[in-house]
Symmetry: C2
Subunit: 213 residues, 2 copies
């Protein structure tokens, strides 16, 4: 019987190599490749460096090119690839980004290996495996008429500077704008994000990973 071919993309060598051993214990699967980030994976894929995998296990938090970036690339270039996301990160935003970019499932790293095996089989056979947490978020999205907040380039730039000890005047200089324009950006964002103070803006930025601390 042909084994189900799996590729692992994860920067934690200790994890990916261990996981490869775990998977090799299951007779249904074999790991045909292992890469430390999206870039490495894509390079290998483009040079057809391996047999086509049936499933890609994709970590979300990686240096160089993370899971979300990688997922976007896969969606554009190889939408046929079945990706099972694997992460320690259980926040809605990340999960939804992976799912909407075409991940067939999203498992947390504290998943039981038994469940993990089930998920692998389901993704292979049925095409997807959604845990309760994921389907919960999906239902949420449908029910609440989602007013997606989109931040513009320039706004993001402003937010990043607002997360420093600079005054607005200094920020204005930094962005080559008049302080009054900065005033506008601020007021705009306060309204859009339902905030009242710069403190709120900083907290928002941290929570949504606009700035990394």
């Amino acid at each position: 019987m042909e084994k189900i071919k799996i590729i692992i993309v994860d920067d934690h060598l200790l994890f990916s190599q261990s996981l490869a051993y775990l998977i090799s214990k299951y007779k249904e699967f074999e790991v045909i490749g292992s890469y430390a980030n999206g870039k490495e994976f894509i390079s290998a894929y483009e040079s057809a460096d391996f047999n086509l995998p049936n499933i890609v296990l994709l970590d979300v938090n990686m240096p160089i090119m993370d899971g979300i970036e990688t997922m976007k690339w896969i969606k554009e270039h190889h939408a046929e690839l079945k990706v099972l996301a694997l992460s320690v990160n259980d926040d809605e935003e990340t999960i939804m980004k992976m799912i909407t970019n075409g991940a067939k499932g999203y498992l947390l790293k504290d998943t039981d290996p038994i469940v993990f095996k089930e998920a692998l089989l389901e993704v292979y056979n049925k095409g997807f495996y959604y845990t309760e947490i994921v389907s919960g978020f999906l239902i949420n999205k449908l029910n609440q008429n989602e007013t997606k907040i989109v931040l513009k380039e320039r706004e993001v730039e402003f937010i990043k500077l607002a997360c420093t000890e600079k005054t607005y005047k200094e920020i204005a200089e930094g962005m080559c704008l008049s302080p009054k324009t900065i005033d506008g950006y601020r007021e705009n964002l306060f309204q859009k994000l339902e905030l009242k103070t710069r403190i709120g803006l900083v907290l928002y930025a941290v929570k949504h990973k606009i700035v990394c601390i």
Copy 2:
């Protein structure tokens, strides 16, 4: 030959169980127990639920009882235990906390399995294994006459409130103090932490995990 007995404490089942397989590939070691957090490990240890381990692999970020808490308990009750910390977290504060509480080494999870094995052997034989990053920090500590910053209860309380959209007046009410006293707290902290604005204070709080976002 007697194998070196290892215990794994990590909340990521997929990781800990995979790692156990990896370790079992090395003939020198055997995994004699696996626990999802410090609490579970301590309970098992106290009820003498297993043979004494030669090495404990301790994850830092865990729910219920994290690596640092666990390390403190070990230092107090079983300082003879050789602990090798294992984490994705490479910030100085965390690393130093683990080391000063008696961890014999601190490995990042993106360590190569070969190095990992070396580390296990060294911890067992020599009693410690310090990677470059750790010894770098250790040297730092010695050179710079460390003025350890200690925050008082009340200060921490204030900082937490400062990380909200409340005004100082509201914070004062919340802490049952006069706004002027709050002024004092602020100025004090600004000086102590070398900050200039409340934004800086918020950033400090986030970085040092005084508030969780």
